[in-house]
């Protein structure tokens, strides 16, 4: 029975059907399956599969995003159930602060990463676009973030990522968080130059890196 639920959720996610995912997740929880099971064996497994297909360039980005949105519809229900039950299992896989740096209003890459992370069970705090460096640091301190992710598509705005590193130090949390940068104006060399921990060439690599960081942290 449980297997049928997981397969049905997987199919609904691959059909980008938000309503069907929400309905199936509700039914699965009502049938007695634990929120953690539904999250890990149903939703997260399916979105990982879709992410891999995108990584292998077998599906389009739009398909990935539509699948992520469908998945999020289910994740929200699972989250509510976890909060109601107040179980330890309710802890997110990781806490991420994400945003686009000051002087830059590009949001698409950031939104893709956010959607995929949320769909995979991460707690994501999106501070939005055109955000000064101190907002990244403040939010990270406030939510006890594991990771601070910043996006810059303009060469004129990427120096803000260096300032984020400085602000995290000033706030005294640089050692507690990992930083990752992405976006058209960034590259590996830039990450090294400013002392950032990771660079992601695209959204899918960003999600993979964040997953690996959080899994390593848990161990």
């Amino acid at each position: 029975m449980a297997v049928n639920f997981f397969e049905s959720i997987r199919k609904a996610i691959l059909d980008y059907d938000e309503e069907a995912v929400a309905k199936l997740v509700k039914e699965a929880l009502e049938s007695g399956l634990s929120p953690l099971e539904v999250m890990n064996k149903g939703l997260a497994k399916a979105i990982t599969e879709v992410g891999n297909l995108f990584g292998e360039e077998k599906i389009f980005l739009t398909e990935l995003m539509l699948a992520a949105n469908a998945c999020i519809a289910g994740v929200e229900i699972v989250k509510r159930k976890i909060l109601e039950s107040k179980t330890e299992a309710g802890k997110p896989k990781g806490v991420i602060v994400i945003g686009t740096v000051k002087g830059d209003i590009h949001n698409i890459g950031k939104d893709i990463v956010k959607a995929l992370l949320e769909a995979s069970g991460f707690e994501v705090h999106d501070i939005g676009i055109d955000q000064p460096a101190e907002n990244f640091a403040r939010k990270a301190a406030e939510v006890n973030a594991d990771i601070v992710a910043s996006s810059a598509l303009l060469t004129t705005s990427r120096p803000q990522q260096k300032i984020i590193e400085e602000k995290l130090k000033e706030t005294g949390i640089r050692e507690k968080v990992k930083t990752i940068i992405g976006g058209g104006a960034t590259d590996r060399e830039w990450a090294e130059e400013i002392g950032c921990d990771f660079y992601a060439v695209d959204a899918s690599e960003g999600v993979r890196i964040i997953r690996e960081i959080c899994e390593a942290g848990r161990r």
Partner: protein, 480 residues
Amino acid sequence: MKPRLKVLGKEELDTIYTTALYLLKKVGVNIEDEGIIKLLANNGCDVDSNRIVYFPEWLVRDCLNSTPKEVTLCGRNPSCDMQVGRQKYPYIIPLVSYNYFDCVSNTYRTPTKDDVARFVRLCDHLSTVNGVWMLSMIPEFEDMYMFGDFILGIRNTTKPVCVINFEPKSVEPTYQLAVEMAGGEDELKRRPLLTVNYCCISPLIWNKEGCAMLKATARWGIIPAISTEAPMGDTGPVTVAGDIAQKMAEFLSGAVVLQLLNRGMPIIWVDVHETFDQKTGAVNFASHGNFLYACAIGQIEEYLGIPIVTPVIPDSKLLDLQESYELGFLLLTQMLGGSRLVVTHGLDSSRAFNNELLLLLDDMVTATQRILDGIEVNSDTLAVEVIEKVCRKIDGKRRVGHFLDQRHTLNWYAKEHRPRKDGIFEKHRREKWMELGSKSFTQRAHEKVEEILSTHKPEPLPREVEQKIAELQKKYQIKV
């Protein structure tokens, strides 16, 4: 609106046609076959002591009228048939030539049977390719090249196979093989599996071999593809209009003979546009004038109502920038000009073929087909509903919506942009490209070719056809 490139007006086309009729009537055609001269004389032509035959206008018009406007070139698999005159896009037929260019060593070599088989299998795999045109002249065959080419073609593709002939003696065994494949002579007439290409000689000459082929194809009911090859400034006038008129007259003279021998038989004109390069003394196929000529083919085809095959022939010797430029310009102009049958050659002015180039061609054809489809304008493509939806997404007094997560994007992306399936065109960011090995297009294409050939196997020939091949080889002492 469907895009179309037009370079000739109706009056200009009328003038070219009238000139071709004048050439046939007043200049005449040198014919080296007494039987055909007699046939033409009995049908109203004048003949002089130099075997020059003068064609009356009414006879040419009459024979042109009885030539079918449409023709079907059949493959082993009926779903691969080319229905010329009814298709949505121009048909693309790559040519197997008598040298192979190896992109790994950047060298030319005489092709082996395996080289030809691999190329034909690749053609069989690619959806943008509709058939193959064969002129391998493989030394292993020794003679009866057309028969050898036909076997190599049909064993490696179920798409139509057109063969080029220089030896009339190979027509009969090849015909018999086609009869076996079709399941009888009547079936072959219904589904013509054999198209044979041969030449008229410029200016305005039908030599003995050409005449023999006219008679053979008319007798057997094989679809003839008559080539006219008059390099501008060499055996044709240097002007584009004059060259078209002369070659039109050459083709029409062959069509008259064929219609008198076998009224109503379909005929294809292979209009090769080429230029004699005054600096190098070489015949070029991708000169600036050729690009213009390429645009005109579709209009000439429509005007005469005869299927015309036109080759796309780059002159470049390597898979380099020149090759891409020449291939792209010729293909685009020809397809936008309205050509319905395009034979694509490889490199070195038709002297060589190459596998990797087929993958470049595949993409160029897809791109050109997209242009030919034009811009669809309707309520769904105008996308007002989705624009409104995206723009309504506001955060912090800023519009933050985008189209990446919209069903409309998914529904239309492939239709509008025809994304590539195989990934051999490098579109990643530089870091990713480096991570993947910093490979050139040719390297990636080579890997893809090997991947395709390691898996793609066309349906084998039926056992009875293989038995017929062995029987015919024995009967005609063919060393294939």
